[in-house]
Amino acid sequence: MLLSVRNLTSYFFLDEGVLKAVDGVSFDIQENETVALVGESGCGKTIVALSLINLIPAPGRIIAGQVLLSGEDVVTTPKDRLRQIRGGEIGFVFQEPGSSLNPVYTVGHQIAEVLQTHRGLTRKEADKEAVRLLGATGIPDPEKRAKSYPFQLSGGMRQRAAIAMAISTRPKLLIADEPTTALDVTVQAGILDLLEELQQQYGMAILIISHDLGVVAQIAQRVLVMYAGKLIESAHVDALFSSPKHPYAQGLLDSVRLRADRNAPLRGIPGSVPDLLRLPGGCTFHPRCSVSDLSCRTQFPPMLPLAGDRSCACYRVHQ
């Protein structure tokens, strides 16, 4: 087991109240596995990702739970060790490749910085390795690109550069937070291909965070569905897409045209994502759910296993 997240709970303490961004999330990631975390905007996906490297911005805080990376708890590990994990064992790719690169340094310099920090290379070695890595991510003429500033590159190239930076230390886990959302559709596919290729080449696990089910279908082996700070379904990608169990997952899939029946009408999920400060009691999805009954209003349903190595948090599914 590479990563084992247990009861991860990250709250934001705001003036308006306590925002339960991540509330008791548990999941595992195996070596070399690609797991997708999906959900609507604002459901806590990114906070899960940041919690994995213990990097939640104030006033947020991990208040409970464990993030075990090869058995080592990232939540309680000392800061020095944490810095080794960040960028060393866990690489991170951000959503906006433009803004995750520092505008005043060349791309090559920034990759070299990571290599100097984590692999102890000299400046010269690091510069050379940076060029090699840029080449490995499919950037043409990497020597020239290494000397380019971020704004001189296209969005796709920037994301390739950001990926080069994230994989430069051969991480065991690569977290990609909406890596293709800011990119054109044609460029998206190229980036996803690149991630898969690098995964095979370097042997790393990938946690990809996305609200785009098309992206998920293309790259993931297993999918975690999140709603309002909680996991509500976990299943193999084919199983989820062919037969989603949780009513929310069903609604999510019904709202995009991925399934075989191209003529089926697109349906949205009624209502909108609840305010995380004022969550409904019981199952947080019950006000929007077409099959909810009284039992759904009492307590949040536990994630219980189903046949076929999947689990789901819904009273009606388990009845």
Binding site: R83, R86, N102, V104, M157
Partner: protein, 312 residues
């Protein structure tokens, strides 16, 4: 022409080789854009040339000065000589050549201004960066301390300190620097407060960089352009301050000459030898004005919101 090249987007199509970008020389770095804008501002360029000339003249004072600035001979025959071909700026009350004195004085005046600025900018940058990056109660504490410090009228503080410490030049530079860092600190803090929200800082955390490196390598360099503007302005102000202090007799003391104490000497003889105060006064005014103009030019050139087209 260059714009079209720079604007052309790259296309990467999966499974196909990514299109080659335009040649690197078609690109403009932020620095080269700023350079272009600055150069197109004639007044700022003229001011920069003026500063350069003054600096070179100051450096080469021993070569350029026609006379020994401290030699006193035949005082009665040589004193209070008006400007002439022999003495372009005239002579002072001891018959010393004012041009030579002004050249040597430029060394001290410029050096004091620049060095005091460096002290102020270093202290201010460090202070502001720590406050802005740490945030929370540390920020609050540091900024309230800064407020308390700025509550003292700065000039009286300098007067007091210069009086107490029997200032030699080094001490004077420290006093001036250590009373001028507050604006830089505020500026840097506010820049860092906004910069630290940017994603590249989060990314720097995510690659495991320690805090001091994030501040040093990622935050301060991004804040430097605005510091450059205020630092240039500050040099002009500090040169003026030094002149005032020397004029008041608590800055740089004779026999070390500065424009300030030359003006002070000239004040006593204003009605019989106007040139004694006039030439150092003009040099001082030109210098301060030049630094102000260069600062203005830099501000316009480095402003990312300014329209590029206006300048190119």
């Amino acid at each position: 022409m260059g714009d079209e090249l720079a604007d052309r987007a790259f296309i990467d199509v999966p499974g196909m080789p990514v299109e080659m970008g335009p040649p690197a020389q078609g690109f403009r770095t932020p620095w080269s854009i700023a350079q272009r804008r600055f150069v197109s501002n004639r007044l700022a360029v003229a001011a920069l040339i003026m500063i350069a000339l003054l600096s070179v003249a100051a450096l080469l004072a021993p070569i350029l000065a026609p006379y020994d600035p401290t030699a006193i001979e035949h005082v009665l025959q040589t004193r209070y000589l008006p400007p002439s071909w022999h003495h372009l700026f005239g002579t002072d009350e001891f018959g010393r050549d004012e041009l030579s004195r002004a050249l040597y004085g430029a060394r001290v005046s410029l050096a004091v201004g620049v060095l005091a600025m460096l002290v102020a900018v270093s202290v201010g940058t460090l202070y502001g960066a720590v406050a802005g990056y740490a945030g929370g109660w540390i920020d609050n504490l540091l900024m309230r301390a800064l407020d308390a410090f700025t509550a003292f009228p700065k000039f009286f503080l300098i007067l007091l300190l210069a009086g107490v410490f029997e200032a030699d030049i080094g001490v004077l530079i420290l006093i001036m620097g250590l009373t001028s860092w507050t604006d830089t600190a505020r500026l840097i803090r506010s820049e860092i407060l906004s910069l630290k929200q940017r994603q590249f800082v989060e990314a720097a955390h995510a690659i495991g960089l320690p805090d001091y490196l994030i501040v040093w390598r990622h935050l301060i360099p991004n804040a430097l352009s605005s510091v450059l503007v205020s630092a240039t302005l500050m040099v002009g102000g500090l040169i003026g301050t030094e002149a005032i202090l020397s004029f008041l007799g608590i800055g740089v003391h004779p026999p070390t000459m500065t424009w300030g104490n030359m003006i002070q000497a000239g004040q006593d003889a204003l009605f019989i030898a106007w040139w004694m105060a006039f030439f150092p006064g003009v040099l001082l005014a030109i210098t301060v004005l030049s630094f102000n103009l260069v600062s203005d030019g830099l501000r316009d050139a480095l402003d990312p919101k300014a329209l590029t087209r206006r300048y190119v």
